[in-house]
Symmetry: C2
């Protein structure tokens, strides 16, 4: 069970962005340098964040990205959803009544995997970008 870099980078980048968001758009180049993430990779990530309306882009010199909603209203769920970092505890389709490997019924432990998935998703639904920034400032004091 691991979190992918794509998901981790997306959150890192947005926290970085949110901290400088007040005044000007933040360029990916700056985020890339500050956070040590490949610029080209960031571009892929922000393309998805923009499509899901989490950020807005400002083109041209002095351009960059700004948050499209208040930090409080951006939950981890939204970010992970945007970059396709989904929690998957099973292989079978959720809506189908069939089990894994095309078996006719769900497995003995199916309930457990659903619980696990919910448990993890709850965490993502509770945390907002704002929480992360606050947490960060507090720890520095």
């Amino acid at each position: 069970m691991k979190l992918t870099s794509k998901g981790r980078y997306a959150v890192m980048a947005l926290v970085d962005l949110a901290r400088f968001n007040n005044i000007n758009p933040v360029s990916l180049r700056d985020i890339s340098l500050r956070q040590g993430i490949s610029l080209d990779y960031l571009e892929q990530i922000f393309s998805k964040l923009r499509k899901k309306e989490i950020v807005q882009s400002v083109r041209g010199t002095q351009g960059g990205y700004i948050l499209n909603r208040k930090a409080k209203e951006i939950k981890l769920t939204n970010i992970f959803d945007a970059v396709d970092e989904k929690v998957k505890t099973v292989q079978c389709k959720k809506d189908s009544k069939k089990g894994c490997n095309g078996r006719s019924t769900k497995c003995l432990t199916h309930n457990l995997w659903d619980e696990l998935e919910n448990h993890i998703n709850n965490f993502f639904e509770e945390k907002s970008l704002e929480d992360l920034i606050k947490d960060n400032i507090e720890r520095r004091v």
Copy 2:
């Protein structure tokens, strides 16, 4: 973030085994058939479970595996640990003070990833094999 088949199979197989555990050893062939898991793959998995003393093997005809501890004392943590299904939310070493990609400090969101890892591991530490079997019986009633 996905759970691998290896981890899922390990738990499925142990629940199956635990249900028939009272009387005789349970053969992997039976588990394979009942749960639809490749026999060869199960053998790899049980080799690890045996090394971590979660199960005991009985060789020869009529042989198989039995639980090596009470179902109540086998937590999901133990199972996942045995088959190397670890929760990893970061790439950098936990004990090192260095960050990811060999950076000199930990990242802005590091605290978050630690929290997430704990959140997930808590779930695994709470659930025992016994819980799973009970849950299963209840749902069938």
